[in-house]
């Protein structure tokens, strides 16, 4: 009986440790440009698209390059695998998931999410007079 309880508790404890470890490992932190440059792991880089600087899609490498500015005004070149995401032009802010590559001097993103001025939030100004 006692042995049973001990084995069960050990299994439970192991699972809790395993779960928390996986949780910490895969917790992708939100950060700014300075934070992304300091950390050498996968982060979510939050900022705005710098429309002043050129952004281009390279068809041969299938990569999209643009410049991101964070809230502190620090800029960083971002290279995304794939084309510009949905609503990129309209996004109020963007979040790039990936890691900063020191040797190449840019942030290599695997995914870019866009935050858009929400159309889901209805505004009375959208209404037109009916009959």
């Amino acid at each position: 009986m006692k042995l049973k309880v001990i084995i069960a508790s050990v299994i439970v404890v192991l699972f809790v440790i395993f779960g928390s470890y996986s949780f910490m490992e895969s917790n992708v932190e939100y950060t700014d440009v300075a934070g992304a440059m300091a950390k050498h792991k996968k982060v979510q880089l939050k900022g705005f698209w710098n429309k002043e600087k050129e952004s281009a899609f390279d068809a041969t490498a299938t990569q999209f390059t643009f410049y991101l500015v964070d809230e502190k005004g620090k800029e960083c070149k971002v290279v995304l695998d794939g084309a510009a995401p949905n609503n990129f032009e309209l996004a109020t802010s963007v979040v790039a998931k990936g890691r900063y590559l020191e040797d190449k001097g840019y942030f290599h993103a695997t995914e870019v999410l866009t935050k858009c001025p929400s159309k889901y939030e209805a505004q009375p100004s959208e209404m037109k007079q009916g009959s």
Partner: protein
């Protein structure tokens, strides 16, 4: 007004029903039972009437109601128009209430027969009461002038609604939410039965009437989840059938607890043990529905998900929190009150018994559900711990659930081979030889083919073991009484689905490619050629790509279109099912060489009155041709045209007036170029009108020489797409369907048994 009155009447009737049923439980006065029953019938009647009323408002385009205006429009075809009933939060709660009420009708009959009516219905009606409270606060019958007092005049009727999000304009929208919400409603029943058991101090009999409901819930919710996965895979272009998104997880977790509870019930039935675990799992089926609703509807996930979760306001937040706390507290209270008197099983468990395997299996399933819940809640957890919300990477979910999947696979085979209570080690080992041997062989073959990861190999072994063991059992049962095959069929489905998971997720190949029109490009061993696009209906475009591999030819046509509703590009993938694999092409964008590259273009910026030579012609910018009322026009959403008045001459010829223009229509700008001498095309490249002092206005003009253009060939369009090959994805769909068929077989048998029993009594 009618709508609000109906909702409040339903709320009152349902509250009376719950209270009367509870009083009947306490005192046993027959009058209370009658009141409880009649008021629940009233509730159902009013809820059906309310739903019909809301539907009629939608079908007759009563846009003065904010909900109708927000989600529907005149252009929608009828099936989609009906589906706008549950396109928003208010309506989806209405749908949930409708199904909860309808299921309640059957529950009254069923629980009355089993002698549980007053306890079960007092709890179940309370669920309905709380859901109704939700739509009293989040009222679908609010008028636009009540929604925006002061901004919208009373009595105002908008001409048209905002319409349904194009993402949702799909036949799945018609069926998927209905099935899912029926499943959510069904999850309320096990909770009600578990509470009833505690109220009645009847810890063993309750599982009998609760079992068919659990299986029904697992069947319906499982079907709903599968439909959602297929929708995501086939139309939404998320690249897969499962993205571990909060919305997806929120239906998976209750389903997992439901499955765990079914296994506990089976175990308790045979042994009389595991009473507390079964009660807790029964409650968790419903509590996790409430928790997921809280996560996905209250706005707590914030910006951490791809889904945009609208912040519904503090009232809804507190109501959802209250709902969860209330039902969790009731459950904990009842459990705590009865904890000591719940009988403990007398007999010592045998580890080589089916019931112990079932217990372990249920625990592993529940552990997976807990891991998924923790992952989904990560924005909440990180907010508390770090003060910053962040979501876990989706790799977390596969890392944590994979070992549990291995355990579940092994137990799904083992549990079916073991006998209840008694067990003989040598006999068990004998039955194990064939399936374990075959599983080892399968794993060996697949290891040679390409399974290199140890965990994945173990998962493959576990799945193969479950498959062969259950086939063995299924054959044995089929020879005896095929009605009892449900369990083994469901486990065969599980094993097939597991194989599908491994093949389609661990061994899929993906590549982002740029397809230059007319130029064959090689990707993943296929030769792809982009042939051009054609309109499919008024605003959608299909991008035709022909694919060739070893003499086999087929074509795919993914769709992209601009949606003004979402202010963005919508993309639908196209899939070719090649039986052993799917070829999946998700469009990303169409890169059109910027402006008119076919031709020489020269650009120049002009101030008002300035003359410059651009290419071979002399241009003078005279000023803008601005409509006086253009600000007003823009506010009303009318088209406006801005022209640049020019005077153009060439080689000293007489100057001619030319006016290129820009047209702004529905917020979209388009160019109207002007021609000079047929050979030169002048376009406005940029403009900055200055209304205060017109002489400061500037315009940038682009002049294209068409004659020279003829010499340079047009640059072709480039289609950027993600091509992927998903091997054996059909196994996922086949596995899920076999799994659900297993449930169906079981539920039919149980229903027949119940009918027979009822006939005898």
């Amino acid at each position: 007004m009618i709508g609000e009155i109906l909702v409040k009447a339903a709320f009152a009737a349902c509250l009376v029903s719950s209270l009367a049923y509870f009083l009947h439980h306490l005192r046993g006065t027959p009058g209370f039972l009658k009141i409880g029953r009649i008021s629940f019938f009233f509730t159902v009647g009013i809820v059906v009437a309310t739903s019909a009323y809301l539907l009629s408002l939608i079908l007759t385009h009563q846009f003065q109601y904010t909900y109708v205006w927000s989600y529907s429009s005149r252009e929608l075809p009828t099936p989609l128009l009906i589906s706008t009933f549950y396109a928003g939060q208010e309506g989806s709660f209405m749908l949930w209430i409708l199904y909860t009420s309808l299921i309640g009708l059957f529950l009254i009959r069923h629980s009355a027969k089993m002698g549980y009516e007053s306890q079960v219905m007092s709890v179940y009606a309370l669920i309905d009461v709380m859901l109704l409270l939700m739509i009293i606060v989040k009222n679908p019958f609010e008028t636009v002038w009540a929604s925006w007092p002061g901004q919208v005049e009373a009595g105002f009727i908008p001409a048209n609604g905002r319409g349904l999000n194009p993402l949702l304009q799909n036949y799945w929208m018609v069926i998927h939410p209905q099935v899912l919400f029926s499943g959510f409603s069904a999850m309320g029943v096990p909770y009600a039965y578990a509470m009833a058991a505690l109220m009645k101090r009847d810890y063993n009999q309750w599982i009998k009437p609760a079992t068919p409901w659990l299986i029904f819930g697992a069947l319906v919710l499982g079907t709903g989840i599968m439909m959602g996965g297929f929708w995501a895979y086939e139309t939404l272009g998320w690249g897969g059938y499962w993205g571990w998104d909060p919305v997806e997880n929120s239906s998976l977790v209750p389903w997992l607890f439901c499955i765990a509870c079914i296994h506990m019930v089976l175990s308790q039935r045979k042994t009389g043990g595991f009473i507390k675990t079964t009660l807790v799992f029964g409650m968790l089926c419903f509590l996790t529905v409430l928790y997921s609703t809280f996560l996905t509807r209250s706005g707590v996930l914030g910006d951490t998900s791809v889904h945009s979760f609208v912040d519904p306001g503090m009232a809804v937040y507190w109501l959802l929190t209250g709902l969860l706390v209330l039902f969790a507290a009731l459950g904990i209270f009842m459990l705590a009150r009865r904890w000591k008197e719940i009988p403990k099983p007398a007999a010592q468990h045998n580890y080589y018994s089916r019931e112990f395997a079932l217990f372990l299996g249920a625990t592993a399933i529940a552990a997976a559900a807990i891991f998924i819940t923790v992952g989904t809640s990560s924005p909440l957890i990180t907010d508390i711990v770090q003060g910053k919300k962040s979501a876990v990477d989706i790799a977390y979910y596969s890392t944590t659930t994979l070992p549990l999947g291995i355990v579940v696979g092994i137990l799904a085979g083992l549990g079916q081979l073991l006998w209840w209570t008694r067990s003989d080690k040598s006999e068990v080992l004998k039955t194990l030889i064939v399936p374990a041997g075959l599983a080892l062989l399968t794993t060996g073959i697949l290891a040679v083919v390409g399974v290199s990861d140890v965990m994945v190999a173990l998962f493959v072994f576990a799945s193969a073991f479950a498959l062969f063991a259950n086939i063995q059992v299924a054959i044995r049962i089929f020879k005896g009484n095929p009605k009892y095959m449900g369990g083994s069929v469901a486990h065969i489905g599980l094993a097939v689905m597991f194989f599908g998971f491994v093949a389609s997720s661990k061994y899929d190949a993906k590549e982002t490619i740029s397809l230059v029109q007319g130029q064959p490009t090689k990707a993943l061993g296929y030769m792809l050629t982009y042939d051009g696009y054609k309109p499919v209906d008024s605003e959608k475009y299909a991008f035709h790509v022909s694919v060739e591999k070893e003499g086999r030819r087929f074509s795919v046509a993914p769709i992209m279109y601009y949606s003004s509703y979402n202010d963005g590009l919508m993309r639908n993938p196209d899939i070719v099912n090649l039986i052993t694999k799917d070829f999946y092409l998700a469009p990303l964008s169409l890169e059109q060489p910027s402006e008119q590259q076919n031709g020489t273009i020269e650009k120049s910026t002009f101030k008002t009155g300035e003359t410059k030579e651009v290419g071979d012609i002399q241009i003078t910018f005279l000023g803008f041709d601005l409509p006086v009322t253009h600000t007003a026009a823009m506010m009303e959403g009318k088209d406006i045209t801005i022209g640049a008045k020019l005077s153009v001459s060439r080689d000293g010829s007489a100057a001619k007036p030319v006016t290129p223009a820009k047209v702004i229509k529905n917020g979209q700008t388009s160019d109207v170029p002007a021609r000079f001498e047929e050979r030169f095309e002048i376009t406005i490249a940029g403009l900055s009108p200055d209304r205060e002092s017109r002489e400061n206005s500037t315009v940038e003009l682009a002049v294209r020489d068409v004659m020279r253009a003829a010499d340079t060939p047009a640059a072709p369009d480039i289609l950027v797409a993600e091509a992927s090959v998903k091997p054996y994805i059909n196994l996922v769909w086949a596995g899920v369907i076999i799994l659900l068929v297993g449930f169906l077989v079981t539920i039919v048998r149980r229903a027949q048994e119940a009918a027979m029993k009822a006939g005898v009594v």
